[in-house]
Amino acid sequence: MSTQNQSENNLIVSSSPHIRDFDSISRIMWAVVLSLIPAGIAGVFSFGYYCIYLVFLSCLTAVVTEIFILLLRRQPVVNVIQDGSAVVTGILLAYTLPPGVPWYVIVVGSFFAIAIVKHSFGGLGNNIWNPALAARAFLQVAYPTIMNSDWRVLVKKGMEKFACNIANVDVNGNLIDAVTTATPLTKEVVERTYLLGQLFMGNVPGCIGETSVIALLLGGVYLIYKRCINWYVPACYIGTTFIMARFLPPRIITPWANDSFYHIFAGGLFLGAFFMATDMVTSPLTKKGLVIFSVGAGVLTILIRFYSGYPEGVCYSILLMNTATPLIDRFTKPRLYGTKLKKI
């Protein structure tokens, strides 16, 4: 719909307001890209240069898919590409995958994220699930062996050319390989734990962009400072996980079972809390709704970690809360000025 007319004497006649905030979608999206760089560097540091190749491939696929679909849908391509949302999806997807996945897995995932999760619902702003997370969940089902097995094989294969494995020492002084299991939260390997310091820095197994808490924190704080995300979403999410992990009895007893610091530092919680749960499109609109959303995600994360077959609950908890978002929106409508609060 056109809202601006040019009169004969070159005066613009448009609807009020005549000034706008400086902030724009592209500024927000590129700030997110920037804030994800430290985590990427940490990933390369831990798992090798192959990671760069994967991230790049993921972004490229995402952008090419986006252009392709937009052409199919006969929509303008230029603006939508420069807004950077496809690049963000590409990076986030790569960050949630094991460092040694074959190239075709990431291409399939990235294509799925943009073509199916994003555009089959109407493109930017209309998707129900976070595209990167939904694509990850899809890959988990489509390539279970690659996503869940011992990663050593994959890494060996993928990294022959780029190998820079960092050897680690666990608490017992044993030399361990940094990239053998999917996550430090794997329940079967009960005897192996990592030091909190290791988890914080990121010298642990895990997905490309999820291991280094410090790098993620750096990016997250930058986004909060730039007002791209609300601080209370990661705060409520991580806080809830912390409390739940401390007080809920787990089904399988591990050395870190009720160690709440271990639970928030290990796995993809920081990546999820700062970069996925804060995705505006798939989270509720109001502050109240966002608090419900992030507390819910925190509860679900621990429920999945403690009582399901999966070691890690971040991905599914956020996807589940994404699904609940329309419902949350319905119950957290803003109060019309001058009226009493409605009873639900």
Partner: protein, 447 residues
């Protein structure tokens, strides 16, 4: 979203803090008279309500301040000649706010600029003036709300019997960016404002008033506070610098903590609101019998070399004001009013000043914004002072789903523009809402 500004000043929930507030261009500049127009174009419709009825004819000679059109019915206001001269035509002319041609009385200026005799004849008054006399003078002077709403002031003086007014709120917030006319008025005429207010209070029989001034006008606040220091009935408070702090709902909430529905009148909570410039017009009318024929207008913007606050005779062509303030050649937007709620003009040749306009903003390189889909960031919801969901309303309007919009209270929207201002997708939310309201009105007419 994260615009949490800690402040002890009184305020309301929601709103925005425009970065580019443009007040510094004119805040320090004394009000000066603009040059007199060669032709004044006086609309019969300079207020909400029925247009006035002309009582002069083409060819008549009129003098400054002479009644030329009489108010019709209760909600209507008189119109007076703003210059002395000859009525050359009564014809439709493009109305800057209505956006269509409406009848105007066109006066060509004569050399002499003296007041019409019966104005000079009104004797000076003492403080014992009766309520009826104040009422009469305000009504004959054709005073309307000068904050922009242009509601005839004499109507406020006769509230419905069942509504008890216990407080007059005086709006000195002036929250629209760029405008400084009220600020200057408070600095230059504090006594007159307070005296006008006192007469207004006497007339409606209400003995307390509360003045709200935005925190960025501390000088005006101190001066007004000083002026009322002996009056215990009049309180002065600073309110937070935030848009739309000067809107009725927001200033009442900030000063008194009272809330009422967007479409209700302040009467609902026992309040009546007047603008400081309205109080000044009341003073002029009661004290000297002067009708409302001029007002202060801020002429500013990056297309103006010498931004000014002008005393402007109503009906003055805008082109002349722009020349007085040294407009640059390459302006591409002219806004009547402030940048948040003002109305963009398509033609400076025909545009003229009217009672409700406090500013004219001329911009060079005014931007056009490309809008994209809503990314559900929720900022518009946080900024809406009335608790609406602008995101939802804009999407529904695009889908032409007006029934659902009605359910979502679209009619309560005041078109303040906070939501469009803050939206990172640059969605034309206010435009979509205005469009939907017009469509809904059409449907109601048909039904």
């Amino acid at each position: 979203m994260l615009r949490v500004v800690k402040s002890k000043l009184k305020t309301f929930v929601g709103g925005i803090h425009p970065k580019d507030d443009g007040k510094s261009f004119t805040a320090g500049k004394k009000v000066v008279p603009a040059s007199l127009p060669n032709k004044a174009y006086l609309f019969l419709n300079q207020h909400i309500g029925k247009p006035a009825q002309p009582i002069v004819q083409k060819g008549d000679t009129v003098k400054k301040g002479q009644l030329i059109a009489e108010s019709q019915g209760f909600i209507s206001a008189n119109v007076h000649a703003s210059i002395s001269g000859k009525v050359v035509d009564i014809a439709p002319w493009p109305h800057p706010i209505a956006g269509v041609k409406l009848p105007a009385i066109i006066i060509e200026r004569a050399e002499d600029d003296s007041w019409v005799e019966d104005i000079a004849a009104i004797p000076d008054i003492d403080h014992n003036i009766s309520e009826a006399e104040i009422m009469h003078r305000i009504k004959s002077a054709g005073i309307v709300g000068l904050g922009g709403a242009t509601f005839p002031t004499h109507v406020k003086l006769a509230p419905p019997k069942d509504k008890k007014i216990d407080m007059v709120v005086v709006n000195g917030a002036e929250c629209e960016p760029y405008l400084t006319c009220d600020h200057r008025l408070m600095l230059e005429n504090p006594y007159e404002i307070i005296q006008g207010l006192k007469w207004f209070m006497k007339c409606i029989g209400c003995n307390s008033a509360h003045i709200g001034i935005e925190g960025n006008k501390k000088d005006a606040y101190l001066l007004i506070k000083d002026t009322v220091s002996k009056e215990s009935a009049i309180k002065v408070d600073l309110v937070e610098v935030k848009y739309p702090q000067g809107a009725e709902h927001q200033i009442i909430k900030a000063l008194l903590g009272r809330e009422f529905k967007p479409r209700q009148l302040p009467l609902e909570v026992g309040v009546t609101v007047i603008n400081v410039s309205t109080a000044f017009a009341i003073y002029e009318a009661v004290k000297y019998g002067r009708p409302l024929i001029q007002r202060i207008i801020t002429v500013s913007g990056n297309g103006i070399e010498n931004p000014q606050n002008f005393f402007v005779r109503l009906g003055t062509p805008v082109k002349q004001l722009l020349e007085d303030a040294k407009v640059t050649g390459d302006i591409n937007k002219i806004i009547f009013g402030g940048p948040m709620m003002g109305i963009a003009q398509g033609d400076i040749e025909t545009a003229v000043t009217v009672k409700g306009i406090g500013g004219i903003i001329a911009l060079r390189k005014a931007r056009k914004w490309n809008s994209s889909a809503c990314i559900r960031c929720g900022r518009c919801i946080d900024s809406c002072p009335y608790g609406l969901n602008p995101s939802e309303l804009s999407v529904l309007s695009e889908a032409k789903n007006f029934d659902l919009m009605l359910e979502s209270n679209v009619l309560e929207c005041k078109e303040c523009g906070c939501c469009s201002y803050i939206c990172p997708s640059k969605r034309p939310i206010v435009h979509l809402i205005k469009f939907a309201k017009a469509e809904i009105a059409k449907q109601e007419v048909r039904a």
